[in-house]
């Protein structure tokens, strides 16, 4: 018995070693799991050990759209996705959520786990991205969670016609190298504002560098008045958090704004790798803290050279 145990453990440990050896080189170099050219871009799904990433147009890490750890799919990998959750500190129980820009669908999955009763509409212009999200990122859909292949601007206009409203709108349609310019104009943000319920919140993953920063900030200010910015430590991402000024008096005191929810959400958000105290501290108001020139032009449907301004 004893010798058999020893034998078994020797076999197991050698198998484990072999497994480890075969895994090691994979850890170092990324393996392409899926590659396709869609109507809009090159789509690449890459495995790097435990990490699976969706990339557009290859090479630079700037083009990573969505990543998740296969062993811990619920953890949010990207910092900005955690920053987007700051909305919950202000409006903790959104019933209807609109996500513009699906990526791998990780945001939708996370929100479904967190808010199982909420209805989520994911809008993605590229049908191939939806398919890839389903196949490689376990993007979850049911009667309440939909993915619609449509241009974000068109969806928003149609939703307004149908008198729909959302408690939380997440704008995540921009990647490092291309911006849909019609989703960054004053007119579009006015439409988004109308689409928000009175207590609704818009969170937008936006630009923290390049000339575009100033223009974008000026445009948000023009539509929403003072807004909030959520940044991480190294300032590589900026999330804009804005509310309808008609229904919400801007409160520059972040602690008062989020007080009720920081502790209540501490546990639920912990499993996603989000620290609510830290998140609340990352929020700042633009009141008396505008860091862009006052005379910066506003982006409109008539004037929207966002991609040209994004060239550093």
């Amino acid at each position: 018995m004893c010798s058999q145990y020893k034998f078994n453990s020797a076999v197991i440990s050698s198998i484990a070693l072999l497994l480890l050896l075969t895994l090691l080189p994979q850890q170092a170099s990324a393996k392409v799991v899926h590659k396709e050219r869609s109507l809009y871009r090159n789509i690449l799904v890459e495995d790097k050990g435990d990490l699976r990433c969706l990339k557009f147009n290859v090479k630079s890490s700037k083009t990573q759209q969505s990543c998740f750890m296969k062993s811990q799919p619920e953890k949010l990998y990207f910092n900005y996705t955690k920053l987007l959750l700051s909305s919950l500190l202000i409006n903790p129980n959104p019933q209807k959520i609109l996500i513009i820009g699906l990526g791998g669908g990780t945001m939708s999955n996370t929100l479904h786990q967190l808010l199982p009763k909420s209805q989520i509409d994911n809008i993605e212009i590229d049908n191939s991205v939806i398919k890839v999200a389903r196949e490689y990122f376990s993007f979850f859909e049911n009667d309440d969670i939909r993915a619609i292949s449509q241009d974000g601007r068109v969806f928003v206009k149609r939703a307004l016609l149908k008198k729909q409203q959302y408690d939380w709108i997440i704008l995540d349609a921009f990647n490092g190298d291309y911006i849909p310019e019609h989703l960054m104009t004053k007119e579009f943000l006015e439409e988004i504002k109308q689409l928000l319920t009175p207590q609704g919140v818009l969170t937008a993953n936006t630009f923290s560098v390049s000339k575009l920063y100033d223009y974008e900030s000026a445009t948000y200010k023009d539509v929403f008045g003072d807004f909030y910015q959520v940044r991480n430590l190294n300032n590589s991402n900026r999330v804009i958090l804005a509310m309808n000024p008609q229904h919400n008096k801007h409160n520059a005191d972040i602690n008062a704004l989020t007080k009720a929810n920081v502790n209540a959400l501490k546990l639920p958000l912990k499993q996603f790798g989000v620290d609510t105290t830290f998140l609340a501290e990352s929020i700042s108001s633009t009141r008396n803290a505008e860091d862009w020139p006052q005379n910066t032009p506003v982006l409109t449907d008539q004037f929207a050279p966002a991609n040209l301004l994004n060239i550093d």
Partner: protein, 219 residues
């Protein structure tokens, strides 16, 4: 050979300048069409499908009509009038595109057909008229059938070069410097003024056939 004839040369140069400008405007406008439609119909691939289809279709009809028109008493005045007309017909893009696109957006749910109809309503007629200018230019330039191929070649060279520059300058710089409406109005004004100039030049040269008509392309 007319090549050695100096007044005739500057006349040719004037026509080439006009053809260059129409080529420049056509592609400048086509490029802006994508931006004009985007707020209502998005920026999916089919938007460009709609725009390019409408522009190609109306250009083809324009070539046909322009060629036909050039067979009956072709003159620089008529040529100028086509320019003026093109400048006028492009103006609704500035004045009425919002409510037109809104109405189309409300009636047609499918953004493919919505964008197709919108680009037809906004760009079909001005592009037909701009297209008419190419064969009409050939008619004004050709003096004998032997050189007709060469003249047509030169004309297409000049107007397509204009199109190339109209595309790149509009997309690289104009959209960063001006509002879309400002650019469209400028195209309209330049086309209209050049047309007027053509009419005036024709009047002067008719009054003064033996004198050289000095004209410059001010674009």
């Amino acid at each position: 050979m007319p090549v050695s004839n100096k007044p005739f040369n500057s006349f040719n140069l004037f026509i080439y300048c006009l053809a260059f400008t129409s080529g420049f405007s056509i592609m400048g406008i086509e490029l802006l069409a994508g931006r004009i439609l985007a707020p209502f119909f998005g920026s999916s691939v089919h938007i460009w499908g709609s725009i390019i289809t409408v522009f190609m279709l109306s250009l083809s009809l324009g070539y046909l009509l322009g060629g036909k028109l050039s067979t009956k008493s072709a003159s620089l005045t008529r040529y100028g009038l086509i320019f003026i007309l093109s400048g006028i017909t492009i103006l609704p893009v500035v004045t009425s595109s919002q409510w037109l696109m809104e109405a189309i957006f409300l009636t047609i749910e499918d953004s493919r057909y919505g964008s197709l109809l919108a680009s037809t309503v906004l760009f079909f007629i001005p592009t037909i008229i701009l297209g008419m200018l190419s064969p009409y230019s050939v008619r004004l330039l050709v003096t004998n059938s032997n050189e007709s191929g060469q003249v047509a070649g030169k004309l297409y060279f000049v107007s397509t070069l204009g199109s190339a520059l109209g595309t790149i300058i509009t997309s690289f710089y104009f959209v960063m410097w001006f509002e879309i409406n400002t650019i469209i109005i400028s195209f309209s004004l330049i086309l209209g003024l050049l047309g007027l100039l053509a009419v005036v030049v024709d009047k002067i040269s008719l009054n003064n056939i033996s004198t050289a008509t000095e004209s410059t392309c001010d674009v």
